[in-house]
Subunit: 325 residues, 6 copies
């Protein structure tokens, strides 16, 4: 159990010598036996489990390419990020056609990392949203006694029925609830809006007492505040808080590269603010970013750029929280 | 008079059996003799009357295709829409090259529907903005004694001179004022801004006492409130209120598929809020959505998606107003 | 065995009344108990078995949409196609995440059709190339005693190892050879060129005596003649000839919507000529068209249009061969 | 009769002083009373008469912009074009919404030019194909006694019924035949192929004895030779030969900016060769280029570039024929 | 010194006769000896000095083309702009490959204009940001005794080291500070945010006491107010205030045509508001707009449209400030 | 003299262990002191010397990325390429803004390589066409006594005047002729056609006796044969033959990613055939590929793919000529 399926990415930036002024110079490959970094990230490059055609499997690769355009200094907070240690564990090796096998490998790799690096924050870069169910199960494997709470930023509930679809990208939250890994009332979903969840799914969510916070409600107090409040509530009940950021929570005009994004969604400003707050909360040790499909992005890669920015905001919060910046 | 030129769309979604969880399962073709639905929609697929090249004639078709992505539940309002009865009357059959004939058919079809279904809300999906003049004339034909007020959400005044251009898309409001169908001071235009109306048009509008509410002014009280206020004023003077939504009122970054949209325009959030308010007002029984050109839309169809969302907001307001949800 | 998983497309053209002057008016849904049509087509909408991200699963749908632009008259041959009876059996219902199950359903549906309609030509619209292995196995199920020969128009050998990849789109020919369904020397591949088959695959092909005809060799006698010659050879040895057209055989400048197409490939003129010859040969009763990904097509849909044209050429040949035109 | 509706383009290249090394320096505005140039061109910027949405009305403008990239020397023929005098008469002023009026203006302008400049070759840049009927009628107005023959390079017959569609772009040849302006057997159509003419149109063409030369037939002798042969035949019967080049005759992969272009069409090499031959024939004094829609062109404007090249080939032939180069 | 390298644009709109209702009818070429206009604009069409590939050299041309869509009336302020006199001095003639020579020409032309028209507001349309250093040096040449203050709206500091890069687009502010033309604490940069300035640049900025106002800080009081405050501070210390608008200050979703724009940037609403305030301040006599690359713009030209709108807002402010509207 | 400015690419594929079945596994970095490889390639990533905006500087990077899709086996020739040793010397380090300095570095690096590896074939990947002049001068530096002949595949003569433009991409052949490095009658240009060379350039070429072979002339005997004949002629007169492939020689429909490509150009089939012949000729030891701008390429990268294919054909010829395959 907990086999490590992580492999190096298929290409690298040529390592430069001087100071790590840009992210690709700062993030280092995770090396065996080097002690615990502050943050480990890894890719879960699968999207053939997506109901619709998706190239989200290519996001980990594009995410790392875009790094090169990001400096290691947060100017808003006047904060140098480089004292914080981020390690890149590579990507989970996927099976070409066996989706269940691929999902198992994500789960095992996540179990492995959470066991080996219990003090380290863990960040998974998807892939489609099916990966979240795998990751959470992997963590549960490592910490079977802990109660897990989920903060989900999403336009959708993702509680479609795996009995019908198998472990597809529309089902992760239901997989976890029906599988007894997480309780419905330990799931907070912020970002719901409009007409993108069919009636039976809403019935399920109500029945399982999923905490639905619409974007309209969150905006009343401010999205960052709403997020903090949700973490407050979760931390009263759960020893482990897992945050899943389905990038389709963003408005379609700001995230054209997320096929399921919609009109009426969250702005990047709101999401960036929320992620810095999330980063500051030491209760949050697991986070993922999913469903960004670089093949659908605009010509100027605005969505991938927003994806990296979002991650940087989480890291900034982390650095601030850790006092390392 | 009032001949019915409406024809079935050229293609259909395969009717599914179960519950109407998505819009394409919920909206039904208008059948003869079935009593009055709550809302009838029909398409006016013409854009060869547009001054610039336009594919807005294709919008009714794309609007119906996109339906399939929209659920019949409004999560913001926790509201099931399905008790409300929406019927699709199809599209007005257009002449290929005779624009006047096509316009006449829109007018007649609108006269027919407003006469046959006097209690039903009527929604026209354009087509370019020339269709509005036809629709209003059709309603006037049915209710010759009524005073008609117009609430126009638009970046432009659309009062160019039909003597010069014929019944083109820049002229509908002037056609109606000069034709004695509507009085200038019964026209409220909300959304005007910037540099998109030439000096002679502004002179005309001032002379005719068109109520120009700039976007800047509307934002001071909030666009939904400004819209409500305009309806209040109109309902004091007019027995019939017609709302025309020129989608070019939206900012160009949110509506790339509307060729005449501009920088500095309304946000989708503002428009969606306004449309729910409009829907709630029972005084409003006629509405159109015009000038959305799907051939210009972005690769992810963000404008068509916003168009359907906008319509859904009107319907949501309607359902709330009717107490049917 | 041989369960019928075929379902109606989700969408259809509004049936018009008059004469079938365009393809969408001519092709009829396959109805139970109507006797044998001249040709049955069905879709196999799967591409999550593709090694790279692919939207080829959407091709059957787009193929049927594009029909509407094609007349039922071949002007080159001065031939009316309408006396020939083409029936549309719909699409095989796919499982969302279980690729093996989906493959089994294609196989069973193909077994069903080939058993129910033994005199009818059968045409499968993919989907990725993994579907070919399923279809051929389904035919073998119906005719276990028959020797099957394959004529493959392809840039690739598609003999990658299923032991490594599972039943992915790079493996169908190897699945069939290693599975004992087809013998290597009963496979003719026409269209190979350039640098798109790695050394181990060529070794395998040589070992199994696959008949590799490079595009350069085929051009020496003309592609249509080369195709006829291959069918001559196959018909000496095989009772059943299955033709698989991987659209990536086309040059990338003529088929941008086939992700695996390459420079140096076949021209549409060559392919169209070959397909008319293939259609004329009554020995050929099974054909598929695979790997066309409409999501990658150019703005003017040139690849989908070429795909329909290619199919029409096969049908034209068929009509000529049958004397029905 | 024959009013001159020609107006200067809205936009022009800053005239440079030196030698006319590029086309925009060489072509001069047509000035009153300057004698007869060798060639006059003018634009007919209408496409709202097109059955499908079309931006072909923008082609005259884009055509003139692209001039700047073309030198005044034909390297293949080692020929300096500048001794030949080309004048630009501007564009016919169109009515915004009255299509009949616009058509009348094209007809009158063409009558005007053909009467004023009887020795000059006249070249119309469309616009959609409806303009051809206007131009030919205008010439007939000037030369009522002459028999007019038409050489049409086209994928379509363009004999749809004006009784049904009005004077739309699918109807010009039928307008002329039914209107008694041209006889069916004086129309040669070269370039027909595939599945793009419905059965009733072919019946009409056969009944009227239109000379249909399929692309396949033309290729047997070479397209330039086929074109020459058609002109030979026409010149036996007709005093005036009008050539209409519907750019949709080109293969879709070479002319993505012509919405009606198809797979299996003519190559640019064939068209360019044919146009040089046409240019050489002094019997041909009238030519048009229609149906190129710059709004659909590829990012690198390959179709507009091909359009200018095609025109240059006609001019080259003209220069060679005139002995002026 | 101060040679005038300005040349007419390579094309122009056909001058219409009537009233100047649109910008292209209103802005006139700068003529020798006509007295001082209220505003002169000129283009600096260079971008080969850009670190990354850039087509910003094409912006002056596209800027003038887009003029035609803008009316000369500001509806928000109910203000007729035409009494204000705007002259177009054309573009600085660039050397094809000698970047230093091109930069010198910009400097000299700017010196020439500022000397010849000391009362006139001067507006440079770039080109990349290297042009700002040239322009400021040119003004310094004319007014060697004056202290120059810079208000920079930018996502970047643009203080990379010219010793390493030469006079590239990342260096202008450093060129001016190190060259003694401007003092660091007379530079206000508003719009900085996120992760787009590497640590050594921030160290340099702090050392030179550049006034860094992050977008977050500016938003606390409102961007227009923050801009006014910066001008207040600058006008206490500097006799000349130069405003440079790097269009990359805009959020990437609103300015896809600015390659260096980023997520988290300024909205067009904020920028438009700021520019009207800037226009009102008579202390500001020099302004530039740089780094907009039309070749990267979206299909609907949203960035070029925003660029013209931004300039119009500055002009509106100017008209209001001058009392001429 | 002859300083080595070559640096590793900024990016590399993760080296895999097994056999070199794909090009990225086969081509090795050039290591000091390893003896002479069969072929060395290096990048000259400059395009700010281009007259028009160009991203050809990015081609070396994209060329290496695309390698991964190419196998090391030529199926047409049934030839394993791996025994042939190809080394990658990296890219010449460019100055950001000093074009002359950058050109000098290319020259020096080319001098260095040609001196250090006199037996090795040298292949430069541009960059724009200005790089050719640098490379040839570098070779001349190493072999001052040798006569150099040039075979140029190009749509243009590239003899614009450096006195006017500096060392821009339109001038390399003239730089070499006027600089006395190469004689005009030792330059063969194959691929000229149409209207893309202005009259003064043709006069210059005739005066200098450049051997102009139009594409039309080359096609009479076949492009590969024409190329062989030119090499025959050159080898009679010159000890060194340098081949420069301006990718704009290709037809625009096959090379949209070459901004200067035109209608009427060479097909990829012709170019690929020619390059294999060139590769076979041991007299040719220097070759470059220039002017491919990946930022202009189509969505499916058809031009970059053609660029790699073209290079592979040269290598194939080389392997055949060397007897190493």
């Amino acid at each position: 159990m907990g086999e490590n399926w992580l492999r190096k990415p298929e290409w690298f930036w040529n390592p430069s010598e001087g100071e790590p002024d840009f992210v690709h110079q700062w993030v280092r490959p995770l090396e065996q036996g080097e002690g615990e970094p502050d943050l480990i990230l890894f890719g879960a490059p699968i999207s053939r489990s997506s109901i619709s055609v998706s190239g989200a499997s290519l996001y980990p690769q594009e995410f790392r390419k875009m790094w090169k355009s990001y400096a290691t200094y947060n100017l808003d907070e006047d904060l140098d990020l480089t004292p914080f240690h981020v390690a890149d564990a590579g990507d989970v090796a996927m099976h070409t056609t066996n989706i269940s096998e691929s999902h198992k490998r994500i789960q095992e790799s996540c179990a492995y990392l959470s066991r080996q690096y219990p003090e380290t924050a863990l960040c998974m870069i998807g892939g489609d949203h099916s990966t979240t169910a795998c990751a959470v199960r992997g963590i549960k494997e490592t910490f079977p006694e802990e109660t897990i709470g989920i903060l989900q930023l999403d336009t959708h509930l993702d509680v479609r029925d795996p009995a019908e679809l198998g472990p597809a990208n529309g089902t992760p939250i239901r997989q976890l609830i029906d599988g007894g890994v997480v309780k419905g009332d330990n799931v907070y979903n912020i970002g719901l809006h409009g007409y993108f969840n069919a009636r039976p799914l809403i019935s399920y969510a109500k029945e399982k007492r999923i905490r639905m916070v619409t974007l309209k409600q969150a905006r009343e107090k401010g999205v960052p505040a709403a997020v903090n409040e949700a973490i407050d509530r979760l931390s009263e009940k759960a020893g482990i808080i897992y945050v899943t950021v389905d990038m389709d929570v963003l408005d379609i005009t700001q995230a054209p590269g997320v096929p399921a994004s919609t009109p009426g969604g969250m702005t990047t400003t709101e999401l960036f603010g929320a992620l810095m707050e999330i980063g500051k909360r030491e209760e949050v040790r697991y986070i993922d970013f999913v469903c960004l499909d670089p093949t659908k992005d605009s010509a100027v890669s605005e969505t991938v750029k927003a994806g990296v920015y979002a991650w940087m905001q989480f890291v900034t919060g982390r650095v601030m929280g850790s006092g390392k910046g």
